[in-house]
């Protein structure tokens, strides 16, 4: 029963990692941009949920109604104003811009909200279900279910819609698609907006189970990067499977190994996978190239 509980906890944690990784991997896959500011957009989503919960007295999950359009618009504007200008800059320069954006957002949040911890822990999300000897937090379950629904929905959209197919084509060969008359810049803006939106949505879903502070997103997104590379850069399916693997490994190693080895064991699994499959579980060789050549 303990093993089952650990696996369930790991899967739920993996869902959270997958959600964080999906935004990262989408932006990387299409734009070849490593967005170090992704964590801060998660944090902004968390603050939005908190504000909705405290000021409006609403269920934190309902803040999605505002967060989704705001994040899409914000992502679109950021891409048009900041990253489009960086298009021809070397990859390292682009990364520095995202790093600078991360610092600016983090400190702006410190200034605006202070360093104090906050909680959007609604009584609904705090509840714990006891199912056949297994304890599952309702908040965790909601975040997991939403994460899977979003993941599957995105995969379907990428396969069966015109824009989705174009986004996949950019990942395949961003030069060829320009030759057939597709507006690549527009696709970049779409990918960036969706990526930022995924981060903010992840923030809203995590908020009721977590605590909120200006620096919280940075810690979460570090594991997100590991998941992205493990699953294969640019692969949404890889992000989901990678998230599950890291979640389950962390859960099991946290229980069976001395606590200090918890992180090292999941990173050891990560290294072994990369040794066997250098492009990640679902990545293709060359997918790791950063920036435009």
């Amino acid at each position: 029963m303990t093993l089952l509980q650990l696996v369930v906890s790991g899967v739920l944690l993996g869902g959270l990692y997958a959600l964080i990784a999906m935004g990262l991997t989408l932006i990387f896959g299409v734009m070849r941009l490593i967005n170090f500011a992704q964590g801060e957009f998660i944090t902004l989503g968390m603050y939005a949920a908190y504000w909705f919960y405290i000021s409006l007295g609403g269920n934190p999950y309902l803040s999605m109604v505002l967060v989704v359009p705001a994040a899409l618009l914000g992502g679109w504007i950021l891409e048009r104003t900041l990253f489009r200008r960086m298009g021809s800059a070397p990859p390292a320069m682009q990364m520095l811009v995202t790093f600078g954006l991360s610092l600016a957002l983090q400190n702006a949040m410190l200034l605006a909200f202070g360093g104090d911890y906050r909680s959007a822990s609604s009584s609904f999300a705090k509840r714990s279900l006891h199912l056949g000897g297994i304890d599952v937090g309702v908040g965790q379950l909601v975040a997991f279910a939403a994460s899977m629904a979003i993941g599957v929905g995105l995969i379907i959209a990428l396969r069966h819609t015109r824009t989705g197919r174009a986004l996949r084509a950019v990942q395949e060969n961003r030069y060829a698609i320009q030759l057939v008359g597709v507006n690549v810049e527009r696709l970049f803006a779409i990918a960036f907006a969706i990526g930022i939106c995924l981060a903010a949505v992840a923030g809203v879903l995590i908020a009721p189970n977590y605590f909120i502070s200006p620096t919280v997103g940075g810690g979460l997104v570090f594991t997100g990067f590991v998941v992205v590379v493990l699953g294969g850069l640019g692969s949404l399916g890889g992000a989901i499977v990678g998230g599950m693997i890291i979640g389950i490994v962390e859960s099991l190693s946290g229980f069976y190994l001395p606590g200090g080895l918890k992180d090292s064991f999941s990173l050891a699994v990560f290294i072994v996978v990369l040794l066997l499959r250098p492009a990640g579980l679902f990545g293709r060789r060359g997918a790791e190239e950063v920036g435009f050549k």
């Binding site: 909680s119 605590f211 859960s251």
Partner: protein, 420 residues
């Protein structure tokens, strides 16, 4: 011949250079006995530690302002020269800047133990006297650092107090020695507190079921919560920082872990942020650390007045909120440094300050936290102490030991325990 002349010229030029440097050094030196006494204040005021670092600095500044209002020390005004040790690396560079460039010979600080370890080593190496106002790592005084004094208690005594609280408050309710699990993050602070807790728990006759560590920067504590659940203790003693503490309590709640008591040991466990992060989930949780609210009866009458003045001044400058422990201890330590060390030292040289610090002998109740002051051979204040607090409503109240208690403990057991 030409070579000789060149040699003489070079010697003369070198001599002139050395002399001008010496004159310059005298001009900007710190030993000007008529100007203000300049004290380096190393508290992190930017970065993740900024909130509490700034609070500590504000507490110290109030002490300086009050002393200056009374005419200063030996007729000289006191001036804090601020440094910002936002990380261990900047702690070294800021301590070096203050002691070498600013010629400061007295440094106080530092709030966080990792910063204190780095800053004090650098400052003392450059010949300064270091007065630690609020960091508590045992390592600070176990290094044998000369001219270093630690005003607060050592971290391990925090853990030990957690075990004593289980023995004296939980055992009587249970009717038998409690079974405890100690958990700690993998920082040196966490390990020291946990060792103090485990050693004292064994001395107190408690059954120690395990001592589990976990990564400080963990994203999830559900496997640790499950480990605790499997061990089935009656009490948990935890040494954590901030994120890890909040996640641990959330995970224990999600896994329905039943406990008679949860003892936090400093860190976030006694701070308003803990309440903000957990809401009603803090009710009944214990915390062991220094407290800013020991009762007036534990203080000398003149110290009661001093505390009231400090609290008033703090409230005036901080929107009416009462000071928490950190600014209070920073005030207290700075006050003792100015009144009982600096004012009584033969000179403000590090050697004379050390001699004065070693001769300080204040009875319990002589400072606004209720501490006495007497440094042991390692420079640790043996008369600083921790108390046991419990979250009751919106704030933690002192419940242990009885001498300092302002309320009786409630909610023991914390959650209904199964019989067995």
């Amino acid at each position: 011949m030409k070579r000789m002349v060149t040699g003489r010229r070079m010697a003369a030029a070198s001599m002139a250079g050395v002399m001008s440097l010496a004159v310059a050094a005298c001009g900007s030196g710190g030993s000007d006995s008529s100007g203000p006494i300049r004290i380096g204040a190393l508290f992190p005021t930017t970065g993740t530690l900024a909130t509490l670092g700034k609070a500590s600095l504000d507490g110290a500044q109030i002490a300086v302002d009050m002393i200056n209002g009374q005419g200063g020390v030996k007729g000289r005004k006191v001036q804090l020269v601020n440094g910002d040790p936002s990380s261990a690396a900047t702690a070294v560079s800021e301590a070096t800047r203050l002691t070498v460039k600013e010629h400061v010979k007295i440094v106080e600080g530092t709030y966080a133990s990792d910063l204190a370890l780095a800053a004090s080593a650098a400052a003392v190496r450059n010949g300064a006297f270091y007065w630690e106002t609020d960091a508590i790592s045992d390592q600070l005084t176990s290094r044998g650092l000369k001219n270093f004094f630690q005003f607060p208690y050592a971290a391990s005594s925090n853990g030990a107090n957690g075990a004593d609280m289980v023995k004296n408050m939980i055992n009587p309710v249970l009717g038998h020695p409690a079974k405890v699990v100690v958990v700690h993050n993998d920082s040196s602070y966490g390990a020291l507190v946990a060792k103090g807790a485990e050693d004292q728990a064994r001395k107190d006759g408690l059954t120690v079921l395990g001592n589990y560590s976990y990564p400080t920067d963990t994203n999830d504590q559900s496997s640790l919560a499950l480990r605790i659940k499997q061990a089935a203790p009656e009490a948990v003693i935890a040494a954590s920082y901030q994120n890890d503490a909040v996640l641990l309590l959330k995970a224990l709640n999600q896994q329905n872990v039943k406990l008679a008591a949860f003892m936090g040991t400093g860190g976030i466990y006694g701070l308003p942020a803990f309440k903000s992060a957990l809401g009603s989930g803090t009710e009944g949780l214990f915390d062991t650390e220094g407290s800013a609210s020991v009762p007036d009866s534990a203080l000398n009458p003149d110290v009661q007045k001093l505390r009231a003045t400090f609290v008033d001044k703090w409230k005036q400058s901080h929107g009416g909120a009462a000071p928490t422990f950190l600014p209070t201890i920073a005030f207290d330590a700075t006050w003792v440094l100015l009144q009982d060390v600096l004012a009584k030292a033969k000179s403000d040289s590090p050697k004379d300050l050390s001699a004065a610090a070693k001769s300080v002998d204040l009875a319990p109740g002589s400072t606004i936290l209720g501490y006495g002051v007497k440094f042991n051979a390692k420079g640790l204040n043996e008369r600083a102490f921790v108390v046991g607090m419990q979250w009751q409503g919106d704030s933690p109240v002192v419940v242990y030991p009885q001498k300092y208690a302002s309320a009786k403990p409630v909610k023991i057991p914390l959650s209904p325990l199964s019989k067995g």
